[in-house]
Amino acid sequence: MTINPDEIVFFQWGWFTINSTIFFTWLVMFLLTLGSWLVTRKLTSEGELSRWQNLLEVMINGINDQIREVSRQEPGPYLPFVGTLFIFIAISNILAIVPGYTPPTSSLSTTAALAICVFIAVPIFGIAHQGVMNYLRQYLQPTFFMLPFNLIGELSRTLALAVRLYGNMMSGTIIVAILLTITPLIFPVVMQALGLLTGLIQAYIFAILAMVYIASASMAHQEIEKKGEN
């Protein structure tokens, strides 16, 4: 039993190591790419939709609706980033029911990387939406003295994003491992089913929180504009 799947090494050649986190991340990436490629090969807009195209359209529509409701903006520019985060985390959490698979999200390295992506995406979307000066001015709101607190808030929410996903997924695998030693018959299955639920909810929460952070960086400007119109 280990709380860090980075230590499970599959392949080592000199300084070059493939641990279980990297391997299963690549596996999930491969599955997603292959699946999307197979489905989008022959898209149709007329006649009968294929079953898989229907699935993808339902998912994309659902993500678009959620983004529209959270950010009150058109989802276009945010869909690629937020949708990718959601689908990647969801698939890597759901696959946890496959025996021998360790979710890459139960390693702090993966979740930290995802959280850093959000940390970098927030200023990028903010600057693209309202310009460098307006974005930087946001850190001085409401007064100049709030600058350190705004910066600390930015860092601590990134840390919280990483540790929340890591803790939830790691606790799932640990609890199943502990239960296997105590009551190996039925209860691990129940906990694993619960793990599927928490996995999906955590994927949803990660994507929604990323969207909330991005929206808050690009929304302030609009509100000021609205106040000016009134």
């Binding site: 039993m1 280990t2 709380i3 860090n4 959620q66 409701e69 959270v70 919280a160 540790v163 929340r164 890591y166 803790g167 939830n168 790691m170 606790s171 640990i174 909810i201 955590q202 949803y204 929460i205 929604i208 929180l209 909330v212």
Partner: protein, 90 residues
Amino acid sequence: MDMDSLSLVGVISIATAGLTIAFGSIGPALGQGRAVSQALSSIAQQPDEANTITRTLFVGLAMIESTAIYCFVVTMILIFANPFWNYFLN
């Protein structure tokens, strides 16, 4: 019976791990209970807004739960990846 530093570290780590998860789950449990009860009564009053309320509830629950998760991570570090344990082993 005198204890060497290794067994001292073990005893204190395990006891602290139990205390950490015990106390660390009280606060979030109370907070989540309050949040869910408020959300349920809001849904009962305004069933039309159920979607928004549920989404906000989930995000809020995740925020509250992260404090419990921090305690859990600290507990796991104390038990499975204790730095002091490794220091005294070497």
